[in-house]
């Protein structure tokens, strides 16, 4: 990709590497120590949503595509993972693979349809597709309708490792989420990722440079859907439960909120946003419907005065990339 002459590119690169590397080490260390101080089930829930938000951010933050239907991938992967573990008796890694592959397949089909329109229409199409699949989930016999799939058994990982303890499950979730986080980081810093950013900045120009932007967008969409599916599958195993909540449009809204609060297009923002929003939901759980009002208010505040999100503001205050 061509850059303007005289841009301080090497300097930015260097800064980017140390701040991101340091950030990652701090994040991993905090998360490794956290279960000794904080309730592990809360941490696992937040980690699943952090991965979901990072996957979502791959699309909105780096390609500029706002999907309002990511619950489709999260929720359907969670259903298929739960069903694979319960109905077919698969071990955790195969159940997760089933869920993630489902999300990849759904991502390919819906991505192919949705990228035919841009901007605002893209958001509406993804929302409509997700709503369609919500109704299928409501009707399909294997999802258990309103009851969902409950008491999903968690067998030994690879037939060897026992995941029934909270700490062993936490360690497993942490390893998967950190690996996926690094994978996403690798994507956005690859030549492929640079093309995605070019499409975000100016799609026409990217087209005129000879890039088949439709293909890039589709691949990004499928990657984002697949990783969202990984998050949904993990959640199904952690809670041993898959339900309609995970495919509902409110879930799509949640992930938008988490990413927006943390910072669109930042590396660590979605993680911070996910932890904050999950903590807020647990804390305000007794407030009933007011949670909806509080979330709505956060959306408005973020859009009006806080568009870079927490991590985006922090990064620009410190003058580093985060």
């Amino acid at each position: 990709m061509q850059r303007d002459a005289g841009s301080p590119l090497p300097q930015v690169r260097l800064d980017a590497e140390w701040s991101l590397g340091a950030g990652f080490v701090i994040m991993a260390a905090l998360l490794a120590l956290a279960p000794f101080a904080v309730y592990p089930v809360f941490l696992m829930q937040a980690l699943c949503f952090a991965l979901f938000a990072c996957a979502f951010n791959l699309l909105i933050g780096y390609v500029g595509l706002l999907s309002f239907g990511h619950a489709l991938f999260f929720g359907w992967a969670s259903y298929l993972c739960a069903y694979a573990a319960k109905g077919w008796g698969l071990s955790p890694e195969l159940a997760i693979l089933t869920g993630t592959a489902t999300a990849a397949l759904l991502g390919t089909v819906s991505g192919f349809i949705a990228i035919r329109r841009q901007g605002i229409y893209f958001a509406m199409i993804t929302l409509a597709l997700a709503q369609m699949m919500y109704f299928f989930a409501l009707r399909a016999p294997f999802t258990g309708g309103e009851d969902g799939i409950q008491t999903v058994p968690v067998r030994r990982l690879f037939g060897l490792i026992d995941l029934s303890g909270e700490m062993s499950m936490y360690a497993f979730v942490l390893v998967v989420v950190l690996a996926a986080f690094l994978f996403i980081y690798r994507i956005i810093n690859s030549p492929f990722g640079e093309v995605l950013k070019a499409i975000r900045e100016n799609e026409q120009r990217a087209v005129s440079l000879g890039y088949k932007t439709e293909r890039y967008k589709l691949v990004a969409f499928v990657l984002s859907a697949t990783l969202s599916g990984l998050a949904g599958s993990l959640k199904a195993l952690v809670f041993q439960f898959a339900s309609l909540t995970d495919v509902h449009w409110t879930m799509s809204g949640q992930v938008v909120l988490m990413t927006l609060v943390g910072g669109l297009g930042t590396v660590f923002g979605p993680v911070v946003g996910a932890f904050l929003i999950v903590a807020m939901q647990n804390y305000f759980a007794s407030f009933g419907q007011w949670v909806l009002v509080i979330q709505g208010a956060i959306f408005i505040v973020c859009v009006l005065v806080f568009r870079r999100g927490i991590v985006g503001e922090l990064g620009s205050a410190l003058g580093v990339k985060l």
Binding site: I60, L66, F68, I113, R116, R117, Q118, G119, I120, Y121, A123, M124, I125, L127, A128, L129, Q131, M132, F135, F136, R139, W249, G253, V256, L260, G288, Q289, W290, V291, L292, V293, Q295, G296, A297, I298, F299, I300, C302, V303, L304, R307
Partner: protein
């Protein structure tokens, strides 16, 4: 009574009627979305919530102030439209110049707030609203029974749609609106107060949603989630029709309502999803939408 394709005429025309009713609401709501999008460049996610506010306002005015349906039909769009104007002044004027996505996210937040407040006070169960005295009962047309209120909804929403189309496409005021959509700076240079026009347009679009809400109150139960149920379908309608044309929004709304009604007769399991399936097919064949200019 007679049968068509093995379906009793009563059932067939009954569902067609329900389809037309739903179509009236799709048309009114997608019309409002198109008008707002044209002027503000914002997809109003709160449109469903404002439709719900319309229905609730009619219900509350009847409960606490004794205003009947006909009075509500006049008062409610003005009241709810005024809240729309306040929203435009407080929030939307600051995001119009930003990327489309921020307008969508902000109005999504508004929708959550409005729905949350009503859920908090009224739970998620519905409240009934009586059909107005003059429109109770119905007529037996031989092939079907036509309730008076439903006939009124269809006729009145057609009239409202036509009036809006006529105002925008055929009057001087409409020509200002269309000009301001094309080139606001130039229109301002001619001495027209475009920001005020934008504000009033949003108020008008919101009022239209509230009007649909009042009309819907006697048909569906008045409930806090009635807005989020319908808005996603209306988004699909807008994707199918494209937002470039007022007439397109109206026709698509009615046509999809009818398609949904027919699906209920022939394959009821698919009636929730048929509009989304049609959206997918349209996107595959005509990505710009039926009436849209290619993006």
């Amino acid at each position: 009574m007679f049968e068509i394709f093995g379906i009793p005429s009563q059932a067939l025309f009954g569902q067609l009627l329900i389809g037309l009713i739903n179509g009236s609401f799709y048309a009114l709501l997608s019309l409002g979305l198109a008008v707002i999008f044209g002027m503000l460049n914002i997809i109003n996610f709160a449109h469903g919530a404002q439709y719900m506010m319309g229905a609730f306002a009619a219900y509350l005015l009847l409960q606490y102030f004794g205003l009947n349906y006909w009075e509500a039909l006049v008062v409610v769009p003005i009241l709810v439209g005024a809240t729309g104007i306040a929203i435009e002044r407080l929030f939307l004027q600051y995001v119009r110049k930003l990327d489309h996505l921020y307008g969508l996210i902000l109005t999504f937040g508004l929708a959550l707030i409005i729905e949350g407040v009503f859920r908090n006070f009224y739970g998620s169960s519905g409240e009934p609203y009586q059909i107005p005295a003059g429109l109770q009962g119905g007529h037996n047309l031989g092939f079907m029974f036509l309730p008076n209120y439903r006939a009124w909804v269809i006729v009145f929403s057609l009239a409202v749609c036509f009036a809006v189309w006529f105002t925008i496409e055929r009057t001087r005021l409409g020509s200002y609106l269309r000009a301001a959509t094309e080139n606001p700076t130039l229109v301002r240079a001619f001495g027209i107060n475009v920001p005020r026009m934008v504000m009033l347009t949003y108020g008008f679009g919101v009022g239209l949603a509230a009007l649909a809400g009042v009309m819907a109150a006697p048909i569906y139960n008045v409930s806090p989630q009635m807005g989020s149920d319908i808005i996603i379908v209306v988004f699909a309608v807008v994707v199918i029709g494209g937002m470039g044309s007022i007439m397109g929004a109206i026709l698509t709304g009615f046509a999809l309502g009818i398609a949904e009604g027919l699906t209920k007769v022939f394959y009821p399991e698919a009636s929730d999803t048929v509009i989304f399936v049609i959206m997918v097919l349209v996107l595959l064949v005509r990505p710009a939408g039926l009436f849209g200019r290619s993006a």
